[in-house]
Point group: C2
Chain length 344, copies 2
């Protein structure tokens, strides 16, 4: 195969035109709201803003063949998931949504139409969350890749919740249900499970894998209710609890029996020969929130999350050495890094 020529970034007419269409579509789909701080966005060398208050900034990436396969993740879904996963990091600090700056790496196999479908997906999640698509770049790439840098806002830096504030005795709580994204991935990678687990279970789980919802409103509610530390569940409950533990210098114990299972997880785990709770404890990408709450704040936090349309479940407690253990129903304890022993 001939090597692709490296070119200085000269005005290749077609690529310029596509960059323009991609950016224009982003700007149409998620324009700055009236009265916003954003003064100049897509089309200039840089987007100009007057943030006021404090900002939280995070970057996330989705790469074909690593985080998804384009064979089972159509372009619109790639756009939706890339922005949702990035915004989940803002949810984890309790930020309000603000602006997103995206880069699309486009392989020759992705037609202009596919690029614009990715823009549609980005625009849908932006509109649903109040995010402005303030900057977009597109270049050729041997592999489909999308990065999103997102900026969220709060009045004061103290309004954001970090990873390091967990204290012994705090309740460990999760929003929503767990294991769905990992179960959905099993179905997508092993289509024969679809029939064994049933279409309804498969579909519910696949939606959790392909189309996560960033819990921005729940993150703000938990921050306001006094969460002492928070993180979003991207790596899996065991790993992410470990991040809180090492940042806070205090351990935690998670009770496996208390983990709320997402729809379809039980059926798919049975079909695949997994323990469903292992999927909930170790499967990544649920993009729910894990937080530590001082006990006096627990009831108010539950109420605030309910008022914001979510659910909050206590699944364990902080304390002990700075490591995370899983407690099984029979009283055995496993290191969180040992959850693989529960699988298969």
């Amino acid at each position: 195969m001939a090597e692709r020529p490296i070119e200085p970034r000269m005005g290749a007419g077609e690529e310029f035109a596509l960059i323009g269409r991609f950016r224009d579509r982003l700007a149409e789909l998620a324009p700055p709201p009236p009265g916003t701080a954003l003064r100049a966005g897509i089309g200039e060398d840089a987007a100009i803003a007057v943030p006021g208050g404090a900002t939280a900034t995070s970057v996330d990436a989705l790469v074909d063949g690593v985080h998804f396969r384009s064979s089972w993740c159509p372009p619109r879904a790639v756009g939706r998931k890339a922005l949702a996963a990035a915004l989940s990091d803002l949810a984890a600090v309790g930020a309000g949504p603000g602006e997103a700056y995206v880069w699309l790496g486009r392989p020759d196999s992705l037609a202009a139409e596919g690029c614009l479908e990715i823009a549609e997906g980005l625009g849908e999640v932006a509109a649903a969350t109040g995010t402005t698509l303030a900057g977009g770049d597109l270049t050729a790439s041997p592999v489909l890749a999308l990065t999103a840098t997102v900026v969220g806002h709060a009045e004061r830096p103290e309004d954001f919740v970090g990873r390091a504030g967990m204290r012994a005795g705090d309740a460990l709580c999760v929003t929503g249900e767990l294991g769905g994204a990992a179960a959905g991935l099993l179905v997508l990678e092993h289509p024969e499970l679809r029939e064994q687990a049933g279409e309804r279970a498969a579909q519910a789980a696949v939606v959790r894998q392909l189309d996560p919802v960033p819990r921005l409103a729940l993150g703000r509610a938990l921050a306001a209710a006094g969460a002492s530390a928070m993180i979003d569940l991207s790596d899996g409950l065991g790993g992410d609890a470990g991040h809180l533990a090492s940042a806070s210098g205090v351990g935690a114990e998670i009770e496996l029996e208390r983990l709320p299972l997402a729809a379809g997880v039980a059926e798919i785990a049975a079909a695949a020969g997994h323990d469903p709770r292992a999927l909930a404890a170790s499967g990544g990408e649920d993009y729910e929130l894990l937080c530590a709450l001082p006990r006096p704040r627990l009831a108010a936090a539950e109420e605030a999350v309910r008022a914001a349309g979510g659910t909050l479940r206590e699944v364990g407690q902080a304390g002990g050495l700075p490591e995370v253990r899983l407690r099984l129903a029979d009283g055995r304890r496993l290191p969180a890094s040992g959850y693989d022993a529960l699988r298969g």
Copy 2:
């Protein structure tokens, strides 16, 4: 070849450890300066800042096989160029440097050592420009790719210079010398030119290709001196002047004979059978600045750029239809999009 398994983002111990080392090194190399607005950076879900004033934000990407080849661009140079090219967009609006958020897509062929060399390269450019490396992410990727989202600062949004303010009669000026990056690329892609053009010429041009310098101080000087529009030369003078023209709704004429040629360009163009001025007019990635200056501001702008350690050369004038033309020594005029006719 077996497909690589897609995994939910579970705590793969080795990858976590590498992400941690990569982030720690970034944070060590370019920590927030004392008294900075940055409150929490690498290691949290999001970097927390209290920007104050106005911000300019831009995203840029470098992809192996598209923008460079890892065969001639070692990891440290990839890190240096990725951040320099991104910061050049901040120079183009006259911003002061602030924070950078990077994503590294790491192929299996890039050892942990290579990732840390990329961090070194990022850190060198960050230190040289006063940029804080405030966020970093690393994931697997079939191809080496690096994106940098950079945030720059000014007191007020009006302090930034956009693309749309060029007026008929404005002088068109460039900083520094042109064509070096394109000439360097010729040498890297056609090593036989190295001997024909001479080692000194080749080396000078290769440095311009691999190690561009973002003209942040010059951009601030030009903004303060009253530039009416500005852009950095990433696509090539013809294409980038076209961006100013279409944003401003006014054309421009560039005099080919006035273009300042970078060291080595004449020799390499001769060896390759190109017109050296075609490399200066159409070669991309010089990362110098192109600005429009109202004539009463020209002398002060030249002085301000000199005081900031650079040079400013008038190369043409704004006016006419919103298109860009190149005027040759013999008086012929070509559309800027026709510069390819000058090549080879």
